[in-house]
Symmetry: D2
Subunit: 250 residues, 4 copies
C-alpha cells in the first residue's frame, strides 16, 4: 500500500531548499577556483616578487630612505585624484615614498557630506600640516564619460551625480563640442568645482589664513604624462562672499 | 550741545559689524599670502618641474607606454590602501602607470555604507574586471594609533569608529602587548575585517564565483619596504554561512 | 542624377538624435501628467485640507500650543525609528508637536560612518540636551525581511548590509525559527546593535556621564500598537571595556 | 635602609594608569546614574504609559486599524522633513498610522551622495510605489539658523554645508533682509534645492514618466500649524535639460 504521508514541501521549505542547493553550487565553485589559484602564477604574485626586488634596490641606492620613513611621515602635499590606474601620483610627480599624502576615488569627486574625503582632508591639513592640496583630474576619465552618457550604473549613479549636475549647468556649451572636447571640459569643470568645495571647508580656510596653505587644480594628460595647472583665481568680491558664508569660529 | 541721537547699534547690527571686520582682516591676509606665494619657489612648483622631466624620460625610455595608456586602462589589480605618504602602491609594487586601480583613505578602513569605496569597488570589479583586490594596511599607521588613544579628533572620530570597535573586541589581547605590538595587531585585525567586508559585497561574490576574482590582505612595512601576506582562508562552514547571508540574485 | 552628398549621420550624431527623441517623448509625458494632476483630487490635496482643519482645531482646543512652539523647541526625547508608515512616533506615544525630536530611516539602522544620523544625534544631545534616546524597531519590518531574503536591491544593499552581518552571526538560531520568529529576532538584534553603537559615540558617553542621558531599545508591535522595552543592560566588565575603547577627551 | 627598587612608571605605564582611573570614575558615575534612573518617574516612562492608553483607545474607536496595518503598509505619501520636534508629519497632516512613509533629518537636507535618504527614496518609490513625495521645510529652523551664523559645529558642519552654499549664492539678497526674513528665505531655497535633487534621481524620473509620481515642496509654519505649498514649476526648457542630463536607461 502506498505511503500516505507524501513528502510535500511548504512554499517556504521549497524556497529554502532551492537556496541551499544554489549556495552549495556556489561554494563548490569557490573551492575549485581557490584550488586552481594557489598554483597558478599571476600578476599579483609577480607584483609581490617585484616588491621584494624594489625594496632591496632602494635599500642599496638610497640607504637612508627606509630608516627615515620609519620615523614618521612629513608630506608637504595632499593629492586628491582619480582611482584611474594611469594616474599614480607619486610616480608622475617624480617623487618618493613619504612625499605625497593621497586620496583617490572615482573621478576625483568631492561630495560635501562625504566622510571619507573629509577625514583625509582633516588629517592632512590639521595633523600633517601639508602646505599644498592638489586636486587633479585627467584626460579620458571613465567616470566623466559615464556622466556624459545615459546608462544606468547602479551604485555609481549617486556617486557621479555631481558630474551630471555640472553637465546640466553647462549643457549648451557641452553639446556644441565634440565628445572628446566635452569630456575634457567636464573634467576641468569638475576640478574647479572641487577646488571651490575645498575652500568652503573651515579647516582649509583656517590653514589658508594662518599659514598660507595653497590649493591647486590640475589636469593630468594620460597620453603624454604632463600635468597642467588650471586658473583657480577668485575676484576679491568672491573671496569676501566665500569667507562670509563659510568661515566659522569656535 | 551733544548730539542726542547717539549711534547705538542693535545687538544684531553689532554682531554683523564685528563679523565684517573679521572677514576683511582674513581676506587681506589671504591676498597677502597669495602675493607671496606666486613668486616663491616651493615643493609643489618643483614637483611640477619633476613631472615634466619624468614625462620626457618615459617618452624616451618606454616610447610605447603613453600611446598605449592613451587607448584606455586595463589594470588587473585594485589596491585599497592607506592615504599615508609612505605607501605609494604603484612604486612599492615596482609597477607602472596603468597597472593598479587605486582607492586610498585614512587607515584603509571599509565602512559598509561608504559610497566612495563602494563606487570604486563596483567600477573596478564590474567594469574593469580586475582579477585581484588587494587590501593593504601598513606598520606605524597614524589612524590606528589614534584609535588606540583616547583623544577627541572631530570628524575623524566617526571615520575611525570601526577601529575602536576592533579595539574593544580585542581589548585583553591588545592590553597585554607593548604599544608597538598593539599597533601592528590592530593594523592586522583591520585588514582582516576589511577582507571580510569585501567578501560580503554581492558584486565581489559574483566575480569570485564567475571568474575567480581573488581577494588578498597585505601588511606593508614602512621601515623596510616589504609587503607581507595575511592568511585570509576561511573554513568551508564559514564560506557557506557567508554565501547564505550575502549572496543575492536579480 | 541624385545628390551624392547623402545625409549620413555619424555614429555619435545618430546616438544624439535617438537620445533627443527619447527626451522629447519623456518630456511630453511629463507635461501631460502635470496637466492631469492639477485638476484631479488626490490623497496629497486632501491631506493639505486636513492640515488646515487640524491647525484650526488645535488653535481652539489647545490655544497656548502654537504660541509656545513659536518660541522654540525643548524636546526631552530623541526617537530613532523606521521610515515605515505604521510607526509615527508622536502619534503612538500619545504626544504632541514639540515633544519628540526624530530621525527615521530604512529599518532604523545606525551605520558608524553615517553623517545623517550622526548629525541628528549631535544636535539632539549637545544642543537640545535631550534626556532620552529611544531606538525603536518594529514587527513586520520590510527592511529586515529583505535582509533575510536573497534578492538584489540596488542601492538598498549597502544600506542593509549591517542586517546581513547580523544574519550571518546568528545564522543557526535564525534558521531554526519560523520566518515570522526569525524576522522578529533580527528586528531585536538590530535594535540591540544600534543601542551598542549609540553608546560608542563620544557625545553620548559624555552626556551619560555628565547628566544622566538614558538610552532605550524598543520594539513597536504594528498589529496592536504597543511598545515593548528590550533589556539593554551591560555587565560592569562590558561597560569598562566600552569606556576604555570609546571614551575620548579634548 | 630604603628599598632601592622604587616604583617608577614609564611614561606609557603612567598614561595607562591615569586612563584607568578616569575610566573607573566614569564607570562609577554611570552606575550611580543608572541606579537613580530606574526608580525615578520621567518623560520617557510616562510616554510608555501613554502609548498603552493610545493603543487601547484606537482598538476601541477604530477597531479595524490595527488588523489592517498588520497586513502590510500601503502609504501614498513619502514625507521628507526636518527632525524638529514641532513637525510630526502624521499629526499635522491629520493622518493615521499607515498613511505616510517618513524620512527626517537635520534641516531636511538632501545630499547627492547620502545613502540614508537615497535608500528611503528607493524603497518608497520603487517598492511602495508612493504617489507623492513631499519635501517640507519649516519656519524657525535651527539648522538653517546655524548655517546663517558663523560658529563651528563639529560634525554638523559638513552636514550643513549645502545650506552655506545657498547662503553664498544668495548673499546679497539675504543680507538685505531682517534675520527672520533671511531665515525663512533660506528655508525656502533649501526646499527648492531639495526638490531639484529629487528630480535628478533616476528612480524618481522613471516614476514621474511611467506613473505620474508627484513632487511637492512645502513650508510648515510652527507658529500656526499650517502647511504652504511652494511653486516648483519648471520651464519646458528646464525640463528638457534636466532629462537630457539625468535620465538613464538600463
Amino acid at each position: 500500500m502506498a505511503n500516505t504521508t507524501a513528502p510535500f514541501l511548504s512554499h517556504h521549505e521549497l524556497h529554502k531548499a532551492i537556496l541551499a542547493i544554489k549556495i552549495l553550487v556556489t561554494w563548490n565553485e569557490e573551492s575549485r577556483l581557490c584550488a586552481n589559484i594557489s598554483t597558478s602564477s599571476d600578476r599579483f604574485t609577480s607584483a609581490l616578487h617585484q616588491n621584494k626586488d624594489w625594496a632591496a634596490q632602494i635599500a642599496k641606492e638610497d640607504p637612508s630612505l627606509f630608516p627615515t620613513l620609519a620615523n614618521g611621515q612629513y608630506p608637504e602635499i595632499l593629492w586628491i585624484g582619480c582611482s584611474d590606474s594611469r594616474c599614480p601620483e607619486t610616480t608622475v610627480l617624480g617623487l618618493k615614498p613619504g612625499d605625497v599624502f593621497v586620496h583617490r576615488n572615482i573621478a576625483n569627486i568631492l561630495h560635501a557630506g562625504d566622510l571619507s574625503s573629509s577625514a583625509v582632508i582633516e588629517y592632512a591639513v590639521r595633523y600633517l600640516q601639508v602646505k599644498h592640496i592638489v586636486l587633479s583630474g585627467h584626460t579620458s576619465c571613465g567616470g566623466v564619460a559615464a556622466a556624459l552618457g545615459n546608462k544606468q550604473l547602479g551604485i555609481l549613479d549617486p556617486w557621479l551625480l555631481p558630474l551630471r549636475q555640472l553637465r546640466q549647468q553647462n549643457l549648451d556649451l557641452l553639446n556644441s563640442m565634440t565628445p572628446e572636447q566635452a569630456n575634457l571640459k567636464l573634467v576641468e569643470l569638475n576640478v574647479l568645482e572641487g577646488v571651490k568645495l575645498l575652500k568652503q571647508k573651515n579647516v582649509v580656510l583656517e590653514a589658508i589664513e594662518q599659514r598660507g596653505l595653497q590649493i591647486h587644480g590640475l589636469i593630468y594628460d594620460v597620453a603624454c604624462g604632463v600635468l597642467r595647472q588650471l586658473d583657480t583665481d577668485e575676484s576679491e568680491e568672491a573671496i569676501k562672499a566665500r569667507l562670509t558664508s563659510f568661515k566659522t569660529d569656535v
